[in-house]
């Protein structure tokens, strides 16, 4: 059983205590109202934590998504006299459906295209709301009923407070659960690079869509709360400016942290309110200086805390994860028969414009051998890796694996065949612990849906995934580092973490890109031992390496590349004696 540590529970305890706030004697009524607005904004901001802070997708359209939820429940309860409680599932459904539709197009956009894409559809939707008779055009709909519990109308701000902050609590819990699940790790992996995630079988497009729809559903939920508290709706709160407000709440609080969302929402709401009181006293009532001072404050805070305020309050310390060592093992692949042909590369080619990076390379790999791919810098080794693993698409040639055609298949399909890899430039997620990073490798060996993760129905499976991750980490000798932030390790050790992550995939074929770089002498020896043991267990290994001593003592066969073409292929000794290799390559070795 993985038990959430105290560090993770105390924000929840704070929220629970906060539930009592409005009943404090002498608590000004308007403060409760302000906290209600804070709560609604916090829910939207939590969605942005998942989407922007963690998923890396900037959205300028959250307020419009809030509008989808708001209008749905407004129409149902005002025009069809349905209970506002029915508006909740309907609102969430409409928002989710809308977001899926919008997201199917937008999340395919990358980077700034995505940001502009969100502006585009949110401006479009805003003016559609404003010109649609069904939703009352610019004037909107007013006289919407409040929430009712057992016939009691929740008009009082303190009543709304309970509902809203219960909602915040739920949203925070659900988000924590989601991020701690298999699907959540996939979302978090996006930040370490979509390529790495895809190489372990994560469907990055679907994962991006998931993050988008999830944040939209939270926005829709906030919209439902908003409407029944405000009891009127028109397009003004769903425009571009409001979307920006939500985004800056998330960023000022600390975009990658759930408590940051709460902090940011509270701060922005509170500061805006206080400025209205303070500034007229300072400057008189002749002008409006709120937005000026607010903007300047914001700039000052961002200079002081570029990653938001929460990281200043609580430094990033991954929680200790209790590993259930006796969890049933995950199903493992049957290794192919030793000596059978595993991988065939035929006339593989890659052009970048006029440059031929890989020029009609041929080689085969037998099950259970270690093949070294060597060559000077720029010989095309890493490109060959990328072509085999589906990170890059070949311009020509064939890649065959266990008899099936892999040419040009996407990375996650390649991963599903049992091919795992490491990267020349380490791609670990900095905001995750070592073991969490390793667990990403086991993505394809779990099946829990995002919803199961959200509802904590995935614990048994997740325990098995983590047990596997712990096992692989122990295998590479880094069991002690499990709970450290991944990027706090030395670079050489980070490469070893990548090997553990690759092993979590239960690979038939392991592709290692310069695994020994940055390792000390005895660490290299340990690595050699590990790789030999893996070979003995039936794993086939293809590695790129510069360290000749390391390679020569380890591999069964070598393929030498230079300027994209294959120079030689054979046992280390034969290759070493090949005059062409000596001339082109060994002569220039460092």
């Amino acid at each position: 059983m993985t038990r959430p540590g105290l560090a993770k529970l105390w924000p929840l305890a704070c929220i629970a205590l906060a539930g009592l706030v409005p009943w404090i004697p002498g608590m000004p009524a308007f403060w409760v109202t302000l906290l209600n607005y804070t709560g609604i904004a916090a829910i939207v901001a939590i969605g942005l934590v998942v989407l922007t802070g963690i998923g890396g997708m900037t959205s300028f359209g959250q307020a419009t998504l809030l509008g989808l939820g708001a209008y749905t429940t407004a129409i149902m309860s005002k025009y069809y006299d349905l209970s506002p409680w029915l508006g909740l599932p309907a609102g969430l459904l409409v928002t989710a459906a809308g977001a899926t539709l919008i997201g199917a197009v937008t999340v395919r956009l990358s980077g700034h295209y995505l940001a502009l894409g969100t502006i585009a559809w949110s401006v479009g939707l805003y003016y559609t709301f404003a010109n649609l008779d069904l939703v009352g055009r610019n004037d909107g709909i007013s006289g919407i009923p409040p929430l009712e519990v057992a016939g009691y109308r929740l008009l009082d701000a303190r009543m709304s407070f309970t509902v809203i902050w219960l909602g915040v609590l739920l949203a925070a819990l659900a988000t924590m659960n989601l991020l701690d699940s298999r699907a959540g790790r996939a979302i978090r992996a996006l930040k370490g690079g979509a390529v790495a995630a895809a190489s372990f079988g994560v469907d990055t497009a679907r994962t991006r869509l998931l993050a988008f729809v999830y944040s939209a559903v939270l926005a829709g939920f906030a919209g439902w709360l908003y409407v029944h508290m405000q009891r009127s709706v028109n397009p003004t709160p769903f425009g571009f400016y409001q979307s920006i407000q939500y985004l800056l709440m998330a960023v000022i609080g600390g975009a990658a942290h759930i408590p940051g969302a709460l902090l940011g929402a509270a701060l922005v709401t509170l500061v805006n309110d206080r400025l209205q009181d303070i500034l007229p006293k300072l400057f008189g009532a002749r002008g409006n200086y709120e937005s000026i001072v607010f903007g300047m404050l914001l700039i000052a805070v961002l200079q002081w805390a570029p990653d938001g305020l929460w990281p200043l309050i609580a430094r990033f310390r991954p929680r200790r994860r209790a590993i259930q060592a006796d969890a049933p093992r995950l199903a493992a692949q049957t290794m192919p028969e030793r000596g059978s042909t595993l991988l065939e590369v035929v006339r593989l080619r890659r052009n970048f414009g006029g440059l031929v990076a890989v020029n009609d390379i041929d080689f085969t790999l037998k099950a259970g051998e270690i093949l070294g791919l060597i060559g000077p810098n720029g010989a095309g080794k890493s490109t060959t890796f990328n072509l085999i693993t589906g990170v890059d698409t070949p311009s020509g040639g064939i890649v065959r694996f266990r008899g099936g055609d892999l040419t040009g298949r996407p990375a996650r399909h390649v991963a599903a065949q049992g091919i795992a890899r490491t990267f020349q430039h380490v791609k670990l997620v900095p905001t995750m612990s070592v073991i969490e990073n390793v667990a990403i490798g086991a993505h394809l060996r779990g099946h829990a849906s995002p919803l199961a993760g959200l509802l904590r129905l995935d614990r048994a499976e997740d325990a098995r995934l983590y047990a596997e991750a712990a096992r692989q980490l122990a295998r590479v000798g880094l069991a002690d580092a499990a709970d450290r932030p991944a990027t706090s390790l030395a670079l050489g050790q980070q490469r070893i973490v990548e090997i553990a992550r690759a092993l979590c995939l239960d690979p038939v074929l392991l592709l290692l890109d310069e695994p020994a770089a940055g390792l000390r002498h005895n660490e290299k020896a340990e690595l050699s031992t590990l790789l030999r043991r893996l070979r003995d267990e039936g794993v086939t290994i293809l590695l790129v390496e510069h360290d000749m001593e390391f390679v020569m003592g380890l591999v069964d066969r070598l393929v030498v590349m230079d300027f994209g073409t294959k120079l030689a292929d054979g046992p280390p000794d034969a290759v070493r004696a090949d005059p062409r290799v000596i001339e082109a390559y060994l002569g220039s070795v460092e």
Binding site: D139, Q230, S232, N234, P237
Partner: protein, 383 residues
Amino acid sequence: MSRTSAILAAAVVFGLAAPAFADTIRVGVTISTTGPAASLGVPQRNSIALLPKEIAGQQVTYTVLDDGADSTRAVANMRKLIEEEKADIIIGTSTTPASLAMINVAAETKVPMISLSASASIIQPMDATKRWVFKVPQNDNLMADAIAGHMAASGVKTVGFIGFNDAYGDGWAKEFTRAAAEKNITIVANERFARADTSVTGQVLKLVAAKPDAVLIAGSGTPAALPQKTLHERAYAGKYYQTHGVANNDFLRVGGKDVEGTILPAGPILVSAQLPDSNPIKAKALEYVKAYEAANGAGSVATFGAHAYDAAILLTAAVPGALAKGKPGSAEFRAALRDSMEAQKNVVMTHGIANMTAEDHNGFDSRARVMVTIEGGAWKLLP
């Protein structure tokens, strides 16, 4: 000082605010002094400074908040004014959607409010919620009828309409469509533009192509000049009508010679000096214009600001009756204030003469609008 303690210190400083209460009438004002409706909100804010500090022997205080024409902020402001400032009455806000969002709060907290925005839908049809809501600007249907009437009298049969792509333009499109139909005037083109648009050529080409006898432009402030200037460029030769939304001198400045001859309905205050002395509105209106320009400079007056002044006139008239039933700050006083405002008859304001009834919380009649044209760069009262 560590960062954490700095944050705590900031929290403490921000937390300090507790107004003390005396026995005074508290007026809460929320208007749009920033954002898209700032051209309405700014003169309104400037007018608040001119309002009486004492009514019927009671001190009056005003707390002004800005809502930026955003309905969420308008409602939050209203709650703040009621819950924190203990307002007895709310004045505001400048735009229709935000006013519509506020009326629920008025009814729920039983605090009367006087809206400063255009649409009749804020107070009509009267119901249990709108009982608490009053409105001092002329209803848009009154103004639309005036334009349609003037068009019919001048032989206009077809009209091209172009309005803001917001609540103002939308409200006018609806009201004018109704008013035009009653006078058998056909609307041959119906276009929208945004306040900050840099070009309205597309819309204007469409208008010109429809060959209407007249064009009605429904926008507020200086942005309403752009379609008219573009129509001039395209040599449109028909009549030009504008709405009372343009009734400030900035419009004349930006419009220049291109807006000469434009016809519009407006509150009588726009041409107060030209009103006959027999008109009781004249004295009130001049009083406001004088006070406003003394404080803000010659030529600075705008009719929108006068709505805030009118709200105070209504309040001043209603307070004595309400004081008999309760002390300021009490629920009785607020209820009595509402009742008293509803009972007011023949209240002379800068924009008209109001006769409130249980059904009509605006109370203006045709005396609240005059037809005006622009001549020699100045507003001129039409007979």
